[in-house]
Symmetry: C3
Subunit: 270 residues, 3 copies
């Protein structure tokens, strides 16, 4: 699997895929820079009158509901349907779902009207989508990971898409296979946008393969390894500003060799 | 007072309070990262249909009018009223008030309909709210600080809230007590968002105490000390990009000891 | 010409001009910080009800369509007309024009209703405005520079404004004179916002002179030299996060001496 992921990384760098985002204004800059750093080309466009055209020239669509509003929700649905019609993968980041009814309704509507290839969230967000009780506070998660592999697997089968849960351990499942990733660093949860950036990386990898399970692993693994490299590079281990800069540095420096040598993952078959 | 502020810092780190922001798209990322760096948990959400719910699970609400528009103004008022009903502190950053009628009218409307715990602005913004002549240009201030202590005190009594004026010297007053802070560095005015971030820090501190005067001092003091630490850490003293990164580094490294040793403040009783 | 540009730089630092932006939420923070770093004062304001007043106190208006929407398009036109009436220079960054009909129609409408002093784009964007075939993908350009000097010159005469094309070589023309700049570094295309920031720098320089051709050269040259200085400062040459920070460092450290010594430009008369 590591060599397949290395190959995806090379394909991204070779093909420079265009990744259309309808996303939030808090981390849009981070998402654009992480896509560029891995080798893709980001575009953020959210007006109802242009998203169909924009997604038509893109290789993947990332929908992130971080700062959703009535105007952009309509654009998300329209762009998602168009991407479906063109067989362009659509990735959902259901930021803070269940924190408010608007987020819950929006995610439900998106799931009804758009076929997603991949959904990436934290444990609370994925549990909310699965209809399970969760302990959500704002847009960050306080949930434990008990039974999380089963949740990912069941929801993947139910929604017929890849489910990626990020946390201390990351869990990626397509319903038949599940991969656990133990890369990353706790400091990743202390800067904004690492979840959103993981989703953008997943979107970038999904544009160069039909194996969305592998693309999801590749995206989360890249962020995890970058988090470790960034932490290792810190002189002062509590320097969150420098850590944030180093994550972009680490993604732009990430090589196939890093993937092969630093990956800490385990695959399980159901 | 320094030991009380140290205690607030520890309480923030221990309780990880959720700080709801309705804010601008220029510095939203900076505000999110500074809240995380000090130990809080930020959430930015501005749709009319979700702000009441979001603020209900938050410990403080920060309203920043930096890039206000008709849609978000309504959300600010709705969220503010809900926060009032739930006794959640509301902090106002009246960015560029009086630069345009829209900003002036919005601040007047907010003051009419929402009870603010704290207002933080530069001298021009606070003078504008106080109905005094000011010399505002865009969203930055060119005003002198003559009589600024009296202005802060009078406005605090008038609006029954804490008034925090940031500048070369910072002035915080609740009408009965006034504190002057002389921490900080002139370079703080050469990067965008330091005012907004100060307000976000104030919001974070206000969520762990009922003493909003102390919370305001704590927020501004933290930014001031961080500015000094960031400046001291610079190899090249005119490196504004590195300075910006170092501010986040300094806030994430800020300890009770720093508060005790580096604070340069003076309290006056009326 | 280099000494004239040095003089503009000094004038910016001396007068601290206010630069009004109606721009996108992806790079707004970068644009604000680059304007501050060069010595200007940025303001971002996009509500229809305030843009006329805001632009009235500004020294230049930058219109960037990166994340345009129906609400902000109306604001762009209104602000542009007001700036025209007040003889305040207006600079257009036609991000991704021709990628979607909305962008093409918006640029056409802006060109119909607003008199621009300067338009800065990549080769694809400028070709699109000139009505020539281009090879646009999203908001980034893949175009070659064959005949680009003629395109710049012809469009400058046609639109009666300065045309600035940025790329491996930068071409700036007012129809009578054309300057080619060979400063810069390929890494500038690997982080988001360098185009937007160039436009913001042009806007800043345009506020201290009536020679918009010179202002355009000054803005692009500053970014090019800053890119070289930032690249030279890198320990790890693929560190895109650090490179981004160093660009702001380099702009804030940029001196007249740098302009005089590092400029690599050639002027041609038609």
């Amino acid at each position: 699997m590591k060599s397949q992921i290395s190959l995806l990384l090379e394909n991204v760098k070779r093909t420079n895929p265009l990744i259309h985002h309808i996303t939030n204004y808090v981390t849009a800059n981070d998402c654009a820079n992480i896509v560029l750093a891995i080798g893709g080309s980001p575009v953020m466009a959210d007006d109802f009158d242009e998203v169909e055209e924009m997604v038509s020239v893109a290789s993947a669509l990332v929908i992130n509901i971080g700062t959703l509003n009535s105007r952009t929700i309509d654009s998300m649905i329209l762009a998602g349907k168009k991407a479906n019609a063109l067989n362009i993968p659509v990735i959902l980041d259901p930021v803070g779902v269940k924190a408010t009814k608007l987020r819950t309704h929006t995610v439900n509507k998106l799931l009804d009207e758009v076929k997603f290839s991949i959904i990436r969230g934290n444990m609370s967000e994925i549990k909310a989508i699965a209809g399970l009780e969760s302990n959500i506070k704002g847009v960050d998660s306080n949930d434990t990971v008990n039974g999380s592999e089963d949740i990912a697997k069941t929801l993947a089968l139910d929604l017929k898409c890849v489910i990626a849960i990020t946390g201390a351990k990351d869990i990626i499942s397509n319903g038949r296979k599940t991969t656990i990733i133990e890369n990353g660093h706790p400091l990743l949860s202390k800067i904004t946008g690492t979840g959103c950036m993981s989703t953008s990386l997943i979107g970038t990898f999904s544009s160069v393969t039909n194996d969305y399970y592998l693309a999801s692993i590749a995206g989360i693994l890249s962020m995890g390894i970058a988090g470790e490299m960034a932490y290792d590079s810190l002189d002062k281990k509590d320097a969150l500003g420098t850590f944030r800069v180093s994550i972009i540095d680490s993604i732009s420096a990430l090589t196939s060799k890093d993937i092969l040598e630093k990956s800490n993952l385990e695959e399980k078959y159901c």
